[in-house]
Amino acid sequence: MTQDTQAGVLGVPKKKTTSAFARVARFMGIRAVTLLFTVVIGVYTTILIANMGGYVDTIMRNDIRERVNQRVAASTANQNISPETRRQMANDLVALEEKRLGLDTPFAIRSFRYLFNALQLNLGRAQNMVSDNGSREVRNIILERLPATLLLMGTSQLFLFFFSVFIALTLSRSYGSFWDKLVITLSPTSAAPPWFYGIFFILLFAAVFKILPFGGMVDAPVPDNTFDYILNVLKHLILPASSLIISSLFLSIYNWRTFFLIYSSEDYVDMAKAKGLPSRDIERRYILRPTLPTIITNFALLVIGLWTGAIITETVFLWPGLGRTLFRAIGFFDTPVIVGSTIIYAYLLAITVFLLDFVYVLVDPRVKVGGGK
């Protein structure tokens, strides 16, 4: 009875709730399918590009032939081996190598096999690359480089993000000041890429002053105890992280400062100012709040962007990160590693985009899930 009454009383709202749930569910479903479809297209395109539409098979076949021939020539030189035996030996080795690399299966079939395995996160085994610890599993190849990448990229990008936002917010409140102008003036320094600063810093701090290492993640020999190891890694982190930070710092501050500036000059901010609200409250409630979706989006994309590493900077500093791994994989035409790295990034990106829609609802009451036209 009570239940009925409640149902009757809540009849209208219940209908609304069901409708909202259906709307959200429908939105989630469509969004998930769309994103999955996008991921599939993105990954398959990556497979096609990484394999040059199948032409890489030709490259690899010839590469195998060249390597095997030279190996056979070297190992049978002056061994009184008949040309027929030698040719047979070479052909056998070529066949084995082609089988190992899956070249005995047409690329069209392999490409879909790569795709389905990738979608199931079955990353498989690399064709040519080996993880540092000797494993051919793509999972190991990627995972062993992840900590170093997260350390470098995480340190530099998170610092860059929060520091830029903080400074930009302050500058947006002191438009036209000396510091504001200095940042504007220095923002073109970001035209130089991080590796440029890297080389510059190496020359300065490693070669001339000899106070910081040239590269690598840790000294050789590696320190015995954990504390010394951590300190040593931090010492090695200074130059690559500084390069990444310095190369983007002023432009990043400039971007955020300009962005905040638009909101700083809104009428309601002037009103708050006129009401005598403290500067900190104005920044937090009147400027930061409406810009939160943008900040969160940037932050979320930044976090998943850490996954890609910094190819050239890692190379300059011999930092054992994912960027270098991906770069080597491209050089080796190692499809499983390229696809493995791509699918993880694609999934992370899709999930982030998916979740951001809901985060917007939480931080901005004006936004309604599935309510847009």
Binding site: V72, A90, G134, G216, P221
Partner: protein, 853 residues
Amino acid sequence: MFKKSFTFAFALLIIASMVLAACQPAQTTPTEAPVVEPTAVEQPTAEVVPTEVPTPEVVQTTRKGGWLDEIVFSVVASDSALTQIEAGAIDIYANGLSSKDLPAIKDAGVSYSTSSGLYYDILYNPAGPEFTDGRFNPFSNRKIREATNWLFDRDYINQEVYAGGGLAKFFAITTQFPDYADLADVARKLESYYAYNFDKAKEVITAEMEGMGATLVDGKWMYKDAPVTLIYIIRNDSDGTRIPIGEYTAAQFEALGFTVDRQMKKGSEASPIWIGSDPVEGQWHLYTAAWSATVLDRDQSNIFQEMYLDSSAQGIPAFLDNVSDPEFKELGDRLATADFATLQERHDMMARALELSLQDSLQVFLIDGKQFTPYANGMVATADLAAGIEGAQIYPYTLRWADQEGGTVRWATQDLFAEPWNPIAGSNWAFDQGAIRATQSGDIMYDPYTGLLWPLRIEKADVVVKEGLPVGKTLDWVNLEFAPEITVPADAWIDWDAANQVFVTVGEKNPEGLTALRKTTLYYPADMFETVKWHDGANLSLADFVFGMIMTFDRAKPESAIYDAQAEPQFLPFQENFRGFKIVSTEPLVIEYYSDTYSLDAELNIPLMFPTYTFGEGSWDTMAVANAAEAGGELAYSVDKALEKEIEQTSFIGGPSLEVLAKYLDQAIADKTIPYAPTMSAYLTADEAVARYEALKAWYGEHNNFMVGTGPYFVDQAFLTEKTLTLKHFEDYPDLADRWSNFGEPKLAVVELDGPGQVKIGEEATFDVFVTFKDAAYPAAEIKQVKFLLYNAQGEIVKVAEAVAVEDGQYSVVLDTATTAALEAGSNKLEVAIVPFTVSQPTFASVEFVTAP
């Protein structure tokens, strides 16, 4: 306003300073004067030099093993290697730098060693004269290919591209190797004949082109109304020097009237064209090739077949399509199969082949590149003349700080741990093997300067070859004998029954009897099994040797638990020539080895019976554990099998393999496993086996790896992701540290030639040749030959003869009256070539003199 302008100017200044700093080259690279490099080596010979095992030249020491306490390996980019040595961050960049970096190395003022690098050439497409689509291919004509030898100025390339750090190259044989020294007179004569001569090239090529129906219209070659366009595949990767070579040679062709389509491609883009396409399709006309010679090859008999003929082991379509002169083809094939009775016959055949190879010119060789390994001043490092320091077997025994025992060397290289480390099919990367090499010893020591072998663990060897085979010897630690027939004993082991795990004897496999072309008997020291220890403390034992013999066969046998299809193709040629081995005695250990293969040097006819596998050493217990893991389907030695079975490749140095190996080690201890028990139980008891396993387990517990060798250093720590490795001094190594100190530096001869600047035609003239090493006279007993070559005013060689020894370090060249009478008035040249025994690089020196009536 001022503040704004100031800040703007300040910003501009910062940017400009950074851009300028970036644009400035890290090292200046001024060009330098041509360097006359001492070249090739000595020749297999029947002469015997009284040579003891090298005697130490430094102060006696009681230290054993390596000189250093520690070698710390790390990875450094080659771009910063010199800066890092200068800054004291590393002590050596072992991977070496190329010829173009020589000026920077010299500027830096650091020490360096020299070894062979890549050698560069142009490979022609021999198909045609018309491709399938009717386009014209001038390089189907041998005479046009030959004429391009005159078209390219090799000295110019060497100076412009390699800053004089390379050597002009005309032949497939390596300019620094023994065959070149033996053929120096022939080679110099041909080099003189084919020296840069653009007009001559133009004359010959014009005549041949017209003969083939092409016409020169307005300075451009036309064929059937279309311009003759050469598709030139120029490699733009590798060390980058093939770009300027390609540009220069293309310009030379354009100067002759050809249209050149330069296609810059990296290796992976180029190989489908020059290797993968049918030459007659005409996807290319010429290609900037490069090859390498990483071992000091004392016998390059096979090089003509390999580099020119359709029977080439390269098996590349361009070679297969080359129709060579029948005489050259026969000669090249005969040389490759050692079809000659005496060394003199071989010499004559090689000399003729040199000449014919230039007439064929499927490849026109341009430059013998060099590799330079920079290291800190005060360091002593032995470099193999071909393989450098990193590739030298001897380096762990001689690497040290001058006049110091102990200390650390910080060894930097290009990379580390590129592939798993295991002795059977593990990493073969030069940088990985450079580190592995320091952990192993072996039967013999490879002479870094002559390519011969010295006994390292064996005491001596007897080599018996069938009468009539052209085998000679140089060093006296090996006995060479000839026999009319060599019969293989019936009880020698010739094969392996993998199902029953027993050896197959010659009597069982060849009941009718078996003969061999060569028998080698190895004699080991009587106390070897007491003095030689593995790094885990266990003594070397006979079981280690027998296990190694089994492993020669087992992986290639389908019935084996560790069968690997990858092992079969390489087993095939071995099996074709192997005739058996036999353990004649166990105390001391004496092993006989029978084979149908032989080398021209008796010293090189030494089989490796020590438990040193292809890619590293392995005690029987370590190998047994790895075998068990492979038989259990959890690991595989080779990458092929690992991928096929979707398991990890065996690695003794780190990674997921270690836990698997540890598991099987525990199992072996629990089961008291004797591997290959039907055979090995004759050499091993269960208790001995367990003791070995326990030692290995303790080693693994302490060092977290299974890299157990017998070499002068052991692997203490390896950090695979950080790419660092620490090797430490092995106290129990049996030999004194100074045993190989005599190889600290190659004894390259320094030559001065002195004589009259003017010679009257028809009168005798005498020239003095002074040969020294470190300002001391070079002992005559260590010099094999001093040849002289006399060039007339036209640059033609008119006389080749030997100089006369006067005393140690001094020789005399006498040009008699008849010789000078044959010279015309003008400027002549006398060149001498000194070929020592102790180092296989000859030294050349020359002097010019004027003849007048």
